[in-house]
Amino acid sequence: MRNVMAVLAGLLFGLGLVLGGMTQPSVVLGFLDIFGAWNPRLLFVIGGAVLTAMIGYRLVLRRAKPWLDSRFHLPDTHRIDLRLLTGAALFGIGWGVAGYCPGPALVSLSGGALSVWILVAAMVAGWWLAGQLPTGVKRR
């Protein structure tokens, strides 16, 4: 049952990314190109997603626990440190180079372009590398 719910969530998530245009790097790069021919489309996607999640989380997190687990697994760090900022900056640069963030990159594996596989392989290598750093943040 846990896996069924997870497939369903992944499917909804993937459909949302595709409908929102996030799986088209031209749209993503157009959104980041605010000094050129700016494409505001992703504002609508992010706005819709954040608002929906905000309302939904309020309702869900009121409960004592989720349906299929003993507790909610929420990040417990509140620290704003160099790690967070450096990571976000490096991610932003990579996002700006090709127009893929992790979700759309994975979804695009089903699209047939060979170089997406290269990007995803490199992304997995990047995850592994970051995990080898001494004070590796273990997150689940």
């Binding site: 846990r2 790097p25 980041l32 819709g48 990040p75 932003g92 180079v97 699209g111 273990k138």
Partner: protein, 142 residues
């Protein structure tokens, strides 16, 4: 259908997916966290739902193919080497910074996390700066 409406609907689906994952499994729908923990040794009982979620992501465009020929997947805009560099940066950065567009940008902000809001501002700014340099500065120099 209006593009902006389709985009809002896309966003709503992403939001609903995040709410479903929280409601059912109590998990944040952060793609980089879900997937990278598979590479970095998530515990035994903690793995299958992650694979299931990724499977769902991969099925999505296949479901759309009967309606849109390519399933809504666009073509890469840069060459192989740039794709490789971008992938490495995205992977390393999202793990180091504990999240990506979904984990920080959607789920984190929806939980009013200052940490996530800050991370989102930083990766947006760096993304914008990178596109600016590559499209408008570097092109002029070459």
């Amino acid at each position: 259908m209006q593009l902006w409406f389709l985009s809002v609907m896309g966003g709503v689906l992403i939001g609903l997916a995040a709410v479903l994952l929280m409601s059912a499994l109590g998990r944040v729908a952060g793609i980089s966290g879900i997937a990278s923990s598979l590479v970095l040794g998530a515990k035994r009982g903690d793995r299958s739902w992650r694979w299931a979620f990724i499977l769902g992501l991969l099925i999505a465009p296949l479901c759309l193919m009967p309606f849109v020929g390519n399933g809504g997947i666009g073509m890469p805009q840069v060459g192989w080497s740039a794709m490789a560099v971008a992938g490495l940066l995205v992977g390393f950065g999202t793990r180091l910074g504990s999240g990506c567009t979904s984990g920080h940008g959607v789920c984190g902000i929806a939980r009013f996390s200052t940490r996530s809001l800050l991370a989102t501002v930083v990766f947006m700014l760096f993304g914008i700066a990178t596109v600016f340099v590559l499209r408008h500065v570097a092109r002029g120099l070459l």
